[in-house]
């Protein structure tokens, strides 16, 4: 409970900071761009109506760490990365759903609630190490299978996209 509450407070704090500093537009990526967020009326685009992120930018956002089993890994694995909603807020993206696209052009439709009501993260690290493309990197959409076991089914497996390169938010 306490942890949950703390997390919510943290989320609120981030939201408040964001609201109170609307002028602070998204900074430009310094390193290699690993994620592009597109959408109608992005509030904080930093490159031609889209928001682009490098690893450093993502790891600065509010995130979480969870240790869990997944169908694609062996044994318990610890994932770390920014919360999906933090990323969307950083980009100022609003909509009802999003298309999460992978390097191999696999795409999954993810409803906005998954980002807002669940602590879904865009994992940047597995067991503390960044993930190469060969190891499902650079970004892996991880649902909180550790804190919400009921998510452990095919419906969420199919939304758990890895090798993510782009998120397209739509109305």
């Amino acid at each position: 409970m306490t942890i949950m509450r703390l997390k919510m407070l943290a989320a609120c704090a981030v939201a408040i900071v964001t609201l109170h500093h609307p002028a602070s537009a998204l900074e430009m990526p310094k390193g290699e761009v690993i994620l592009t967020v597109t959408g109608p009326n992005l509030e904080h685009p930093n490159s031609k109506n889209v928001a682009v992120f490098d690893l450093e930018m993502l790891e600065k956002l509010a995130g979480r760490t969870g240790t869990m089993e997944t169908p694609w890994t062996s044994g318990k694995v610890t994932f770390t990365g920014p919360l999906l909603r933090a990323v969307l807020e950083a980009a100022g993206a609003h909509g009802k759903s999003m298309k999460v696209r992978a390097l191999n052009d696999y795409a999954a439709d993810v409803p906005m609630e998954d980002a807002m009501t669940l602590d879904t993260m865009l994992a940047t690290r597995m067991n503390g190490n960044t993930m190469s493309v060969r190891n499902k990197g650079p970004l892996f959409l991880i649902y909180p299978f550790d804190s919400t076991p009921s998510l452990f089914n095919e419906k969420y497996f199919s939304r758990s996209v890895w090798q993510i390169k782009q998120i397209e938010v739509s109305e």
Partner: protein, 738 residues
């Protein structure tokens, strides 16, 4: 009541057993259902399917990525494209392929994918092939490019890889589909089974409900039955107690009743001893005589009551002149009425309307006498009126006898006690007026046996009317006529009696001799044939069952004689002739039947019925005052007293006593033989013994004994049965001696 309760509890027991069975059945079903449920849960919980699906998808992706990598490499080789974009794109494709490979490596799924083949080795081969390309792409990552030759090597290496991934994909798809179908079938089977179990469960629950309802109903019925039983028990207990009290009171009353006249007798005798003058003696004798008569009356009443209690009261129906009976009663009571200063009046309809009815005159007189004496006893300075009237009712007319007095009367509670044995209206009545309290009970019994009803109306202090009604069945004229017609003289015949039983012989000889007949006796069939051949007889009375030569055979032999002696009339003596017996008798040449035991009346009719020449001598005097003119078959058969009367008339008291004595001697020896037969069974001998005993018992009028013997003939003889028979014989002996 017990028989009512037993089926109830039986039903409960049976239903309980069925309920227990059904419960066990239902429990088993539930267990089965639980097992099936667990199986279904297991099916779903393993998620095996999902993972397999995932594995299939991963295999598909692997195949796809191999092809994509091949496509990039091939196009680059064909177009000679060596731009950095191409190198980067190829490197990324390899990375993705590599990740796909490791997903499969790490993924938790059955390598057989539900099929028979193990995909493990093939996957390992594919893995090795992909890993073998790693140095080339590592170089691209490091240097941004590599040699075209190396790229060509990749292109060549990818060709067999594509075939392998494709074949493994096809296998996996087939295996997963088949497994899915099988799993679906298994699930369907499970569902069908559980459905059947649920149906059975529903049925058994229905059965349980039904049984429960039945059980409840039985329990309720049993409860009601027990309640009834308890009530009945209580009632009979109270009745028994009341009966006991009444008997005690009766003993006290009787003591008092008997003591009074006895005291009178003793006192008178004492007085007479003191003063022996003739006048005193005359007066004393009168007192003694009256007291003795009173005692006798009391004892008669008690005996009568005992008889009526046992159901042994004899009713002797004969033509009864009502007017005579009533007048006799009035005459008898006149003196008593005068003693109590009562006026005794009689109201009778005209003689023409008071027919001679079929009734028992002695009993009628007894009842009437009881009512009138009660009326006279409980009335002083009053009137006692006897009234006889005829009432026409549905189903025939009835005669109503009313005795009305102006005596002390009875209150409604007292009326309820009337007609009950040993009871008087209250104890003070007994002390004041005396009496056994039996009179009305006996009267009621008699009237009911005569087919009538009794009743009373009364008011305390004003008087009472006791009444009874009897069916008035007028005696038909010819019945009276026949009674007279039998007085005509009998011819005297020479009779051969063939009979093996000594008692029966004595009876028949006695009766025949009394009727003026000349009797010879043959002890069995052989003797009979000799006698019939040696002398002329007018008739032969032939017993059917005899040791040695039986009646049928003897008759055949007699008919086979030469000369006129073969034509002698032969009458079969038989206890209960069946149609078959009759046919056999007629076939043997017999002329008729006479049912046993024989009686005076039967023998007389038999003699009259023979077609005889007129030249025979005639019996001059036949005394027969004792034979009742009208006698029902029932009474004739089953009354020792009547039989005794008849026998005594024929044989004399001593002759009858001899007869009875020899019967009991025979009976004792037969009983001994029967005991012997119980030890070593011999059906024929047993049957003959019982038949003999039965015949002898019937002859001297011991009908119950005769009936018992007859019943015993149809069942296997046991020691108990012989014991019972012996007890019965002893009872008879005691009764006759009494």
């Amino acid at each position: 009541m017990t028989t009512g309760a037993r089926p109830g509890s039986e039903v409960i027991r049976r239903v309980s057993k069925a309920t227990a069975l059904l419960q066990m059945f239902a429990a088993t079903l539930l267990l089965g259902l639980a097992i099936i449920f667990v199986l279904i849960i297991n099916r779903y919980s393993t998620l095996q399917d999902g993972i397999r699906e995932n594995a299939l998808w991963s295999l598909y992706q692997l195949d796809r990525e191999v092809r994509k990598l091949h496509e990039v490499v091939h196009i680059a080789l064909v177009e000679g494209d060596e731009t950095s974009d191409m190198w980067q794109s190829a490197s990324q494709r390899y990375d993705i392929l590599y990740s796909r490979m490791s997903i499969l490596e790490e993924g938790k799924f059955d390598r057989k994918l539900g099929g028979d083949e193990d995909t493990g080795p093939v996957l390992a081969q594919i893995h090795a092939a992909i890993l073998s390309l790693e140095p080339i792409f590592d170089e691209i990552n490091k240097n941004g490019r590599t040699s075209i030759e190396a790229l060509r090597g990749v292109d060549i290496a990818l060709d067999p890889l594509m075939q392998e991934t494709e074949s493994i994909l096809v296998y996996a798809n087939t295996a997963v589909s088949a497994d899915r179908a099988e799993a679906r079938n298994a699930l369907l089977t499970l569902q069908f089974k559980s459905g059947a179990l649920v149906l059975l469960l529903v049925a058994s629950v229905g059965g349980l409900i039904f049984l429960l309802r039945r059980q409840l109903r039985s329990v309720r019925a049993a409860g009601l039955t027990f309640e009834h039983m308890a009530r009945d028990l209580n009632r009979s207990y109270l009745a028994a107690e009341a009966g006991n009290r009444a008997k005690s009171r009766f003993m006290a009353t009787m003591g008092h009743e008997i003591r009074t006249p006895l005291n009178a007798i003793l006192g008178t005798v004492e007085l007479m001893q003191l003063d022996k003058s003739p006048t005193k003696i005359d007066a004393g004798l009168g007192t003694i005589s009256r007291s003795g008569a009173a005692l006798l009356e009391i004892l008669n009443q008690v005996l009568d009551f005992a008889k009526s209690e046992d159901g042994k009261m004899t009713i002797d129906i004969k033509p009864t002149n009502v007017s005579e009976v009533v007048h006799a009663v009035i005459e008898m009571m006149r003196d008593r009425a005068v003693e109590n200063r009562n006026r005794l009046s009689l109201e009778l309809p005209g003689a023409a309307r008071l027919p001679v009815i079929s009734c028992d005159p002695t009993r009628l007189k007894q009842v009437l006498l009881n009512l009138v004496s009660n009326a006279v006893k409980f009335t002083a300075d009053g009137t006692v009126e006897v009234k006889v009237s005829e009432r026409l009712q549905l189903g025939g007319s009835r005669l109503r006898f009313e005795v009305t007095d102006t005596g002390i009367g009875i209150d409604p509670e007292g009326i309820e006690k009337l007609y009950r044995p040993f009871s008087q209206v209250d104890a003070s009545i007994g002390r004041e007026y005396g009496g056994t309290g039996l009179g009305l009970a006996i009267s009621k019994d008699i009237v009911e046996r005569l087919g009538g009803t009794v009743g009373v109306t009364s008011r305390k202090g004003e008087g009472s009317t006791f009444w009874f009604e009897l069916p008035a069945v007028a005696v038909e004229a010819h019945q009276i006529a026949t009674a007279g017609a039998e007085e005509r003289p009998l011819p005297s015949l020479r009779v051969l009696l063939v009979e093996d039983n000594r008692v029966n012989q004595q009876v028949a000889v006695g009766l025949l001799t009394h009727l003026g007949q000349v009797v010879d006796v043959a002890n069995d069939g052989r003797e009979a044939v000799c006698a019939a051949g040696a002398r002329d007889y007018d008739v032969i009375l032939m017993d059917m069952q005899m040791p040695g030569m039986d009646g049928i055979e003897a008759a055949e032999h007699i008919r086979a004689l030469e000369g006129p002696r073969s034509k002698v009339p032969i009458i079969a003596l038989t206890a209960n002739a069946s149609e078959e017996d009759r046919a056999r008798c007629l076939a043997a040449g017999m002329n008729g039947f006479q049912s046993k035991p024989v009686s005076m009346q039967k023998l007389r009719e038999l003699i009259f019925s023979l077609d005889l020449p007129d030249t025979l001598p005639v019996v001059q005097v036949v005394k027969e005052a004792s034979a009742p003119p009208v006698e029902s078959e029932e009474n004739q058969k089953c009354d020792f007293d009547l039989r005794r009367e008849e026998m005594v008339a024929a044989l004399g008291e001593d002759g009858f006593a001899d007869l009875v004595e020899s019967f009991f001697v025979d009976a004792a020896s037969i009983t001994r033989e029967l005991y012997h037969n119980v030890e070593s069974p011999d059906r024929t001998s047993t049957d003959r013994l019982l038949h003999t005993l039965k015949g002898a018992a019937a002859s001297i009028g011991l009908c119950k004994l005769a009936d018992t013997c007859q019943q015993r003939r149809n069942v296997i003889l046991t020691r108990d049965a012989v014991n019972e028979l012996e007890t019965l014989i002893d009872d008879c002996r005691r009764r006759i001696a009494a």
